[in-house]
Symmetry: C2
């Protein structure tokens, strides 16, 4: 894996002491000296964490200089003091790089309901500022600093030629997929050296998130902290992207976000399958997404795939309670390319062959087709096995 770091950004990841293990980075700093255009998308949970409140108020922006992220503590459900702590984190980050408080953004992930150790955050921010670097090594240290129980860094990069200039996009995210003990909080920072207006940045990010991070689910429990940030330094090419260049950028950003998002359900000690659920033939994409999410969130579907069991009745019946109107007699279902159900009736198939195909591959492909319209979506989730339960049954005590 080689990530081309976008021009104009510096990265650092350090151990500030929020996590107990001294070998683990737990504080990340991103610096954009000349200011980046920034856009964000956030959790829609009514109960959301303090950093989400702060960032929501500061994006979109035309001049963000720093992003500070800590892992090990979510700063969620911490009331007024938590909000003050989140603001103080942005002040500390800004101070460390010579910027103003409202030019900084903040993200946190970890345990809910505990106050941040602000002394450690302050020392960590200062230490991180001294280690800021522009190469891939610095980028990867920053990518480690945002992790919780993730098995390893989740990063992706793209380079594209737009009107004669090389444009780089590099993203890092975290999300403790299957084992999601911190409610699978999903954080992501995407940096690019393209020039974008704040409005364009917000639009391309929202579009990309809709078909990537909004199309994954681990156990359907929406986090208090979910945040995706896009930062554009404009260092590669001065004119803001528009027209077909913006479309090409959108396309590359979509791909990059899908590549990052898929890594979330694919991760986790427990997960033995990454399940792709494709729902076709719907009236709207929203209908397709709703059906796909209902299938993805069914514990009975997830346990069946874990066991290599082509139990199509669980999939079809989950579609039936998704809250979307459709004709059950028009439904087809295939798993790994093998048709199990056509026009609402069972099809004779070799259960052993399908079971073997599920067991043989880490990825399982489920395709549910309706005959209502032409809208389709892809959704990703992980399976559910005993390891997940063991991990989640005893987290805070």
């Amino acid at each position: 894996m080689t990530i081309s770091v976008p021009l104009g950004f510096r990265f650092a990841g350090v151990h500030a002491g929020i996590k107990k293990n001294p070998g683990k980075e737990d504080l990340t700093l991103v610096h954009c000296e000349h200011g980046a255009v920034a856009a964000g998308t956030y959790t829609t949970n009514l109960v959301h964490a303090a950093p989400v409140v702060v960032d929501r108020g500061r994006t979109p922006s035309s001049d963000i200089r720093a992003v500070i992220v800590n892992s090990g503590n979510a700063n969620a459900c911490t009331g007024e003091r938590g909000l003050a702590d989140a603001r103080e984190m942005t002040r500390l980050a800004a101070e460390a790089v010579g910027a103003k408080e409202n030019q900084a953004l903040v993200m946190s992930t970890g345990v809910i309901g505990q106050f941040l150790p602000m002394d450690k955050i302050a020392a960590g921010a200062a230490a991180a500022a001294k280690q800021l670097g522009t190469n891939e090594t610095a980028f990867l240290a920053a990518a480690r600093g945002i992790l919780t129980t993730d098995k390893g860094v989740k990063v992706a990069g793209r380079t594209l030629e737009l009107d004669g200039a090389a444009i780089r996009i590099a993203g890092m995210c975290k999300g403790a997929g299957m084992i999601g003990p911190k409610m699978a909080t999903m954080l992501c920072v995407v940096t690019t050296d393209a020039t974008l207006t704040p409005e364009a940045a917000q639009t391309v990010l929202s579009v990309a998130v809709e078909d990537s991070f909004n199309c994954i689910s681990v156990e359907g429990h929406m986090s208090t902290n979910d945040t995706v940030l896009l930062l554009a330094s404009g260092e590669a090419k001065k004119e803001p992207l528009s027209g077909k260049d913006l479309a090409a950028f959108q396309s590359a950003l979509n791909e990059l976000c899908v590549e990052l998002a898929r890594q979330i359900p694919d991760d986790g000690e427990g997960a033995s399958h990454l399940i792709t659920i494709e729902v076709r033939g719907c009236n709207t994409r929203d209908d397709a997404r709703r059906i796909a999410r209902t299938i993805a969130d069914s514990a009975l579907v997830k346990t069946a795939i874990a066991g290599g069991d082509p139990n199509w009745g669980r999939i079809v019946s989950a579609a039936g309670y998704a809250g979307v109107e459709f004709n059950p007699a028009g439904v087809d279902l295939a798993i790994n390319g093998c048709s199990l159900y056509e026009r609402g009736a069972p099809v004779a198939f070799d259960a052993k062959t399908v079971s073997a195909s599920i067991k043989a591959s880490r990825e399982t492909m489920v395709v549910l087709s309706l005959r209502e319209g032409t809208a389709a979506i892809r959704f990703w989730t992980s399976d559910l096995n005993a390891e997940y339960v063991r991990f989640n049954a005893d987290y805070t005590t």
Copy 2:
């Protein structure tokens, strides 16, 4: 446990050969010689089984003579042939007791997507008709005939004095709680010797189901077959119940349905806790139910209780994504009587004591209070542990 069997009904449960184990009853017949008023409530899943289609078309009714139930095969996702089979089941049941096809109802539970062995059903219906009895032994045999993976029968009875006459209500239900491999299909038959008009029967049943069977969840996967039937023979007292007598009957029926419904999440090899989720202080009961259901369906909440972990952040954050508007700063949470969270902020509490109280009891009480209104609801679910996953990972293959 002693159940007073309502007058006017006869019961039988036999082994028809749908289940392989010859010691297990798999066909139940209920007979009401002089005709019962009958009401039903059914799954709202778009993908619903053939018997649901048949019963929905025949209830409410003023003259039902027979109910036939088989376990071991759900007759769901079986298309036109399944519908013909369900109708044929009612014809066989009616024939066995000397009634007409449209005077019979049918329920099925078991594997999805396989056709019923109609020869076995026919022989079983005839055999059951010969064994019909009016005592508790016959009632319990019928209660066994509707079970799938349930650990034992789920029955409840009430006797009440209304205007000088004894009225009996007796119910049986099935639902493979935590282990729900057949998607926790829930079937229930409640019989009474009270006299009810068809309209009153439908009303009291719908009211009772709303606060009982519609307030339980195992893994949130809605079955294709869920059915609750109420049959009233009118043998105890000839005049239809009305006024305060009807209210007293409603109250007894509510209690009985809650007693039956709670047994469903309480059952299952895997379930180590029956969790009662009480949500108070909402604007509407529907708001309260939606929040309670979202908490109940969170795998992270369920695994935490399984592990004796008072992880209140998971509960509060689940409430936050239930789709109900409320002020997060007005939320209180208590587990087993210990306050963990008040007015949207953490409270110092002894985690070890709360953890010990969860571990010491089969029942866990979660009370979430908002400050929006006065509506409240109780909802029941089971915890989620490794045993559940093992059971569900390999069912059809």
